[in-house]
Amino acid sequence: MGFIDRLVSRVVGRDVSPGDIVVVDIDAVYAQDGTAPLVIEVIEKELGAGELLAASRTYFFIDHSAPAPHVAAATVHREMRRFCRKWGVHLYDVGSGICHQVVVDEGIARPGMVVMGADSHTPTIGALGLYALGVGSTDAAIAIAYGRQWVRVPPTVKVVLTGRPPAGVMSKDIALSLVGELKTDGMVGRAVEFHGEALKCISMDSRFTLTNMCTEMGAESAVIPVDEVARQWLESSGLTPFRRVDYNPSETQFADELTFEVGRVEPAVAAPPDVDNVLAVGEVEGTEVDQVFIGSCTNGRLEDIEVAARILRGRRVHESVRCIVAPASKKVYLEALRRGYLQALSEAGCVVAPPTCGPCVGAHMGLLAEGEVALATTNRNFPGRMGHKDSKLYLASPATAAATAVEGKIADPRKYLQG
């Protein structure tokens, strides 16, 4: 039992247990320009749907290849715009930002919801105390057409974060350390629920990084029940819970429970070829890189841009490196602009890109050539993810990324963040 089964029980009006297959109303559905084309095809060609019961709570995002890098993408985007106009589906067009960030910024995702996203990193939004399930295109199409979908209630593993993150250690380092320990299949078939005193000093921006990376442990979903930090954030964002869920974790029996001391975490790096190949930054320090990318649904939020700006302000991006920064959404972009972060980054020699997934998925705005090495704040370092199959990709926090941009080789950010 965990928060997700309490929430699903509340939605279906009877007690459910892990493993149960139940049908739920889907409170919001979304898809992006990688998955939406097939959603459209299933709805219009395969199903030949006459009406879409969930059209008013469906959201399409043009974020993976935005603005269009080639005619094929432009054609997909044109189809998405046509579909949205025809069916009354909400569209967030080029420049709006990455789906998982925009649903948060716009108050589309709210505590207590059941949300399906046609993207594997949908569990990111579970940091808002909701049940987020990543699905494929046909699943999303059915949810959009019928407003309901089946879910298998996942067993929940409680992850208790104790201690306090040391200076220079970001939630990305905690997440990478967890993936390093649990491995990429450590949470297959399970949901992760975060608890523990360390959460008190982990901001909402940082929390989304934690839940985002649960996908890389194979978790079906991830959640952080609403606590004081979340309540204050909700209030300042003018958001209210969608549905209230009575939940007392201390009375709950979890499928498993593990404790993780964050006070001992060091800046971490996932070396190629997989996300669980995690090392302390010291072990790869000095590895030369050709490109640094700061952005994505993992680490393109305001706090991430801020720490990068703090390190790069008054310094220069190393001459052998191109450093690309893409805020995760228009809201993040504008706030980073207003606070002078983007100017500092641009003056330091970074390329400030529009809100987009861009290089994260090797779509555009910074692909790698054969043999090139990059360090990115993204969530996957599979071979070829960012370009040529024989390029290499290291994953790290925005602080490590900024320090690496300065030195032209993988660097420990702590020396830039003291005092």
């Binding site: 279906v12 297959i21 139940v22 049908v23 990688g34 998955t35 084309p37 097939l38 299933v42 395969e46 199903l47 290849s65 080639h70 094929a72 993408a73 054609t75 997909v76 046609a118 993207d119 594997s120 990543g134 699905v135 494929g136 295109s137 046909t138 699943d139 059915i142 019928y146 309901r148 089946w150 990429t184 299949d185 297959v188 078939g189 194979g218 079906e220 997989d274 998925v361 090797g362 779509a363 996957r380 599979f382 071979p383 070829g384 993810r385 199959k389």
Partner: protein
Amino acid sequence: MIRGRCWKLGDNVSTDHIISGKYKFSAIDSLDSMIPHVLEEVIPGFHEKVSRGDVIVAGRNFGKGSSREQAPRLLKIVGVSAVVAKSFAHIFYRNAVNIGLPVVVAQRIPEVSETGDIIEVDLESGVVRNVTKGFEERISPFPREIAAILKTGGIVEYIKLYGAPPWLGGTG
């Protein structure tokens, strides 16, 4: 009953391995143009070597990574009739059920099987067999709705046949 030659793969085969993300946009209109690239980095020339009815047998966390549904669709198109693995990434699992590609969880079969063995998957009686090795393993039955979807060949076929998804009839 499903019967075919085994293609043995390891743990953590991702949807990127099955079909790399870079082909998604170049082939929006037809999955056909992606066929040459199916599993190309894992088994070079797979699309030519695979025959209709073949079964993929893999380790843990099959289909991890991106939610791209092109992955199971392409496996089905090139002729794969079922995937047997120790565990599946949940999005791949759902996608495969939706498009009518049987996905079967088994623990011992992946350990004893080798490429080229003859594999039988009997969903009705809940058994997977490695005929070559003379080994069989019982599998847990599918929940009613999933069995119904697989039986009709996918959720879209089911809806065409019965007018609505199987659960709108009663479960809940």
